[in-house]
């Protein structure tokens, strides 16, 4: 509080000023709890136009407490906060596995239309034919792109999709007298959500080795099937292209093997951007999958969400999907079908992340059939191009054009040669921030790796600049490691002490 109303020296030093921050401000920004304007109101309400009804003391509570602010201060606060973020709109954001592609503004236009943003989830189907038609179209298009039979739009994100699909899988097994099938394989480079989702579904996640070349280790998979017993196998969760940034050469062998023992193949669709129109999960053996529409279909990441995690399954699994399903009758009328007696139930209230599905529809219809294929091609070309520009200096275990081993839409590098100079991977990442480039994904799927995914929407010159910057950082490391060790220097705060934060956790404001 005192920082707000009393002059302090910090307040008067241009480099630590408190209230009015230019966009070059590198200091802490006061929280809302430090900005009290007593009695201020940013929003007022009309006078009550009905008689009052007393609130019984037995149920009444007190008013919560945080500082009031005038509307101008509210606007400034969030304007200043926004200025302290990297974003796709401001920066190249080559986060592997996150598909940080351009988020088209027509998507936002669509979702904001009053006829879509102001409809209540419990209105009658007949009053929402426009909304339902968009969902139905989306469902059908997602089925087609998957090469599978029936989509469910309920899951709110990829992990939620995994969870929903595993629940569906288990319901199917229960219903078909195979309830004992509870072992789910996942390659050792699987995303953390895969085993975590298994755990939530009471399924044991068993890790399968990955070969040096980055593919599923078939021998290990066979060994594990034998170990657990074929009739215990529920299935495998596999990402393809996988998180090593390559199409799994053995994907058909894997799915055949799992199918042979009666298991199901689940495709983690995080990397569908490399598949669009070139292949479908259905064509490489998947029985179920999720999409991350916030990756593949351009819906914005919004500082962490919302996403959308629709799943698509083969016919025989469809009866177990959550209700309701979006259907269309013979007269072309759209309706929500709650009549799914074998359904696992629900995984959320209402129908879906509607606003996200509207954006997804808009994007898919914008690209169109061949446009989607071109997305995949350009995404893959862009990744390989950067890899080619860097490979002389940044070791890439899974990329070797001379042997015909190419990247999919992303690639992994483990810059051992640079790390040997005594720097940490973090140093490279933080130094990239100084060049206005967001760090790639780090330490996953391999310790000390950078996973780089440029996406298809970045122009060639951005890819080239990124490669040049990484070369320059390599130069810096070779000439004077302290440059990268002290990075970042141009962000609003210096290197953050995450460990300290975890030691003395302060998760809410304490004045």
């Amino acid at each position: 509080m005192s920082t707000v109303t009393n002059p302090t020296t910090a307040d008067l030093n241009p480099s630590t000023r408190e209230h009015e921050l230019s966009r070059n401000e590198k200091e802490s920004l006061p929280t809302i709890f430090e900005k009290d304007s007593p009695g201020a109101r940013a929003i007022m309400f009309p006078k009550l136009d009905v008689p009052k009804t007393e609130i019984p003391a037995s149920i009444g509570g007190s008013t919560p407490n945080w500082p009031a602010m005038p509307q101008l201060s509210v606007i400034r606060h969030y304007t200043h906060l926004s200025q302290r973020n990297f974003s796709i709109d401001g920066n190249f954001y080559p986060l592997g596995s996150c598909t940080m592609k351009y988020n088209p503004r027509i998507n936002e236009f669509a979702a904001a239309q009053p006829g879509l943003a102001q409809i209540h989830p419990l209105q009658d189907d007949d009053d929402l034919q426009g909304a339902l038609s968009l969902l139905y179209d989306t469902r059908k298009m997602l089925e087609e792109i998957a090469g599978l039979d029936e989509a469910c739009l309920q899951p709110a994100a990829g992990a939620h999709g995994e969870y929903t699909a595993l629940k569906t899988m288990r319901a199917y097994y229960r219903d078909s007298g195979q309830a004992q099938r509870s072992v789910v394989f996942a390659p050792s480079n699987a995303h953390g959500t895969n085993p975590a989702s298994c755990a939530m579904c009471g399924a044991g996640a068993v890790s399968v080795k990955v070969t040096e070349q980055g593919y599923t280790d078939m021998d290990d998979l066979k060994r594990l099937i034998d170990l657990h017993g074929p009739d215990q196998i529920a299935g495998i969760m596999i990402t393809n292209p996988n998180t090593n940034g390559i199409f799994d050469k053995y994907i058909l062998e894997v799915s055949d093997l799992i199918h042979q023992v009666g298991g199901l193949v689940y495709l983690d669709g995080a990397n569908m951007n490399a598949c669009l129109g070139k292949t479908t999960p259905g064509l490489f053996g998947a029985d179920m999958m999720h999409y991350n529409v916030h990756k593949t279909f351009s819906t914005p990441h919004g500082c962490g969400g919302p996403g959308g995690g629709p799943i698509v399954v083969r016919d025989f699994l469809a009866p177990y999907l959550p209700a309701p399903q979006i259907e269309k009758d013979e007269d072309g009328r759209y309706f929500l079908d709650y009549n799914r007696p074998k359904s696992i139930g629900k995984v959320r209230s209402f129908v879906t992340q509607f606003g996200i599905m509207v954006r997804c529809w808009t994007y898919i219809r914008s690209c169109g059939n061949t446009g989607l294929r071109d997305v995949a091609e350009q995404a893959v070309l862009n990744a390989n191009y950067i890899a080619a520009l860097l490979k002389d200096r940044f070791e890439m275990p899974f990329f070797d054009p001379s042997e015909g081993r190419f990247a999919a839409h992303e690639f992994v590098t483990v810059p051992e040669h640079l790390l040997a100079k005594g720097i940490k991977l973090d140093d490279i990442a933080k130094r990239l921030l100084d060049y206005g480039i967001h760090a790639p994904t780090m330490h996953w799927p391999i310790i000390n790796c950078l996973m780089v995914e440029p996406t298809e929407t970045e122009p060639k010159f951005v890819l080239e600049r990124f490669a040049r910057v990484l070369h320059q950082i390599a130069d810096e490391i070779e000439s004077d490691p302290s440059i990268v060790q002290n990075a970042p220097t141009s962000t609003p705060v210096k290197r953050i002490d995450v460990v300290a934060g975890d030691r003395k956790p302060q998760l809410v404001w304490e004045s």
Binding site: G115, S366, Q378, T457, R495, G501
Partner: protein
Amino acid sequence: MNYTSTSQAQQQEMLATIGVSNIDELFAVIPDESRLKRELDIPGAMSELELQREILSRAALNTGAHTHACFMGGGAYDHFIPSFIDQMISRGEFLTAYTPYQGEASQGSLQAFFEFQSQITRLTGMEIANASLYEGASAAAEAVLMAINVTNKTGILVAETIHPDYRKVIETAISDLPVELMTVPATDGVVTPDAVRKLADDRTACFVQASPNCFGLIEDWEGCFEALKESEKKGSDPLAISIFNPTACALLKTPGDCGADVAVGEGQPLGIPLSFGGPYLGLYAAKKKFMRKMPGRLVGQTDDAYGRRDFALSHQTREQHIRGAKATSNVCTNQGLLALRATMYMTAMGPEGIRDVAEQSWHKAHYAASEIEKLEDYELWKPGEFFHEFAVKCPVPAEKVVNHGKSMGLLPGVAISADNYGRLGSTNALMIAVTEKRTREEIDLLVRCLKEAKKL
């Protein structure tokens, strides 16, 4: 329009650098039988002009709160939203940023989430809160899973009166786990402490109770949670899980006031558009002792290399990307932008503003209820205090009232029949929600609608 921009000449240059002659060589690893050898069976590309036109024409097929005075609730409420929020949230720096893993490049979102967490704890009277889950019902399921994990017990007590969707989501969540769900029955639409006492025993992991409940009624959290805690004597230490409405928290006793261990709720009333049910905002607050067991992201205050205050993701070791199968939850992508909306809403409204919303909703709902009670053949279905939503027993099927209302420019409420409320429903029951946005004129029109519907 797929937003790529690389020309064919540029592609050729790039291919040459890679050392291949065409793009398909890069896809060579895909087995022949896995290749899609036809075009996708979806329509061709559309220009933005066509998209605008198509979207507007689809949107025009819907009626909703933009065309009718909305008295529908049932988990999604038509509250006032300050105009600045849409404009602020569409700033690219918020809209198109990723999860704030790189703290130095994400102080904006981190600080906003920290403030969000702090506001949610103050609103609910709880000690800590996470930075969002998907939506209310799945947040409730997460609370139950945490209770199982924390207590190692198998008995899940659920008040009969939580919203049927929440119940379904909890049922699905525990369907593959070795636990048992028990319904705590309601009397006159609410659960009594005695009913809880009867079922809580040495196997009890938690008790879940919503207030307002699925009839809009205010439940006795305090009494019920006390009754629950008596089972400690029986050798269990169950968690009291409250499902709250954030608007109500500004007027009524909070989960914290009533001794809740965990408080979950749907954050949609905090400045989030109805949008046919999503994206919404799962709120999750708890006592501090559950910090390391909680699902979802947590932002903490920390320092940078110069010792200056900043913010960073905290306790990531709970999360799936570090802990895998042992994580407290599988959640990864959450509802960040909606949490931002909510914190903008809470900051702009201020506590007094949220209190205004709650009070006006209370008074308007009670005015509506009292006017409806005056109508012949209409009555409040359940006795007991309610907040801003109440069930009316109509002399005709509620559908009839709803349909008549539409012709008058009203969405009169949610018909809670067996279809959506199962055993709890009734063909003639209509749930009416009244927010601060409704005027006396609209309420009077609703009353007329009910009166007329009877005679149709």
